[in-house]
């Protein structure tokens, strides 16, 4: 815990070095980037897969927590559509973006936590209902789009 505090203090010091103007710009971008998680959730909760797909680049790829991968916006739309029609039928998702790491001014790695509620009770094995995700986002024509999306489930329950 103390180590965490020291790390935070060091981080705060390091952040302070950044120019104020640049920091303000980064903050605005961060807010826009963090909003994409809730846009994703709103679109999926409304069953609007076109809106979900529109958040991705044309050549985006997605790897789910089973390690299964799909490429291209159309395939990604189809994958999430199928999930909402089957294992997650009627479920709602919430996504909270916890960190945004700027790789370049036009490329970020964004980390989120997600949780699904209202999953239908099935006879089969339970589908994961909470986990984390990482999105690599690129700025295209002034808009941030997901170029790569990975979801995962914590290997062990938190202690």
């Amino acid at each position: 815990m103390r180590k965490g505090m020291i790390a935070l203090a060091m981080l705060a010091l390091a952040t302070g070095v950044v120019g104020l103007a640049a920091a303000q710009e980064t903050t605005d971008e961060e807010a826009a980037l963090k909003a994409i998680g809730s846009q994703w959730a709103d679109a999926w909760n409304a069953g609007d897969m076109t809106a979900v797909g529109a958040l991705y680049t044309e050549d985006a790829d997605y790897v789910n927590f089973f390690g299964q991968s799909v490429s291209g916006r159309a395939q990604i739309e189809a994958t999430f559509s199928e999930a909402l029609d089957t294992v997650y039928k009627g479920a709602k998702i919430t996504i909270e973006t916890t960190a945004v790491h700027f790789v370049k001014p036009d490329i970020v790695v964004s980390d989120s936590e997600w949780e699904v509620t209202g999953v239908p009770e099935g006879e089969g094995p339970k589908i994961p209902t909470k986990g984390a995700s990482t999105a690599v986002m690129v700025k295209q024509d002034g808009e941030w789009k997901i170029a790569a999306h990975r979801t995962r489930v914590a290997a062990a329950p938190a202690e």
Partner: protein
């Protein structure tokens, strides 16, 4: 399919004499320099350097493969910056990863820009032992890395390992 084979055969027949000719010419000229490594080869080298530093249990050497602000998110948390990455690895090498080896494969490389690569791969950590000295099973998983090139050298900007969960059997029809 047969047409493809035939074309491949024709191409290979045509290429062999060409190599022989080139070989004759090269004999009279100074030894050509080895071609510079491709970006993919340099990215694979980054993975090899990671493996080599891991084999030494050298947390600082692995952290040096990251950018100054590089980060890792794993089941233990979010480690931002080289020193945090190093500290997390150091704790690992003092405990669960002590004396282990890691084998890293890069399965796909996609360039988001010429100097930013999105790399996916697999990893397998072997040789772990319980505190009681019993052999533990290999730790396997996937990873995604975002690597950046600066001053001619690739570094890891973000690394996201993950352990896939087992997919349920598809439900039976009917």
């Amino acid at each position: 399919m047969r047409t493809v084979l035939r074309i491949a055969l024709m191409v290979s027949l045509a290429v062999v004499p060409a190599f022989v000719l080139v070989g004759c010419q090269a004999a009279e000229e100074p030894e050509p320099a080895a071609p510079p490594p491709t970006e993919e080869e340099l990215l694979h080298q980054l993975a090899s350097d990671y493996e080599a530093a891991w084999a030494e249990g050298d947390a600082a050497a692995i952290a040096a493969l990251f950018t100054e602000d590089g980060d890792v998110v794993n089941d233990n948390g979010h480690f931002q910056g080289r020193s945090a990455v190093e500290e997390n690895l150091r704790q690992g090498f003092e405990t669960i990863y002590q004396g282990t080896s890691i084998a890293i494969e890069s399965t796909s490389v996609r360039f988001l820009r010429p100097d930013v690569a999105l790399v996916d791969g697999t990893y397998e950590i072997t040789g772990a032992m319980s505190p009681e000295g019993e052999d533990l099973p290999a730790i396997k998983g996937l990873w995604m890395g975002v690597d950046v090139k600066a001053d001619g050298k690739w570094h890891i900007s973000s690394l996201r390992p993950m352990t896939p969960v087992e997919a349920p059997e598809p439900p039976e029809e009917g």
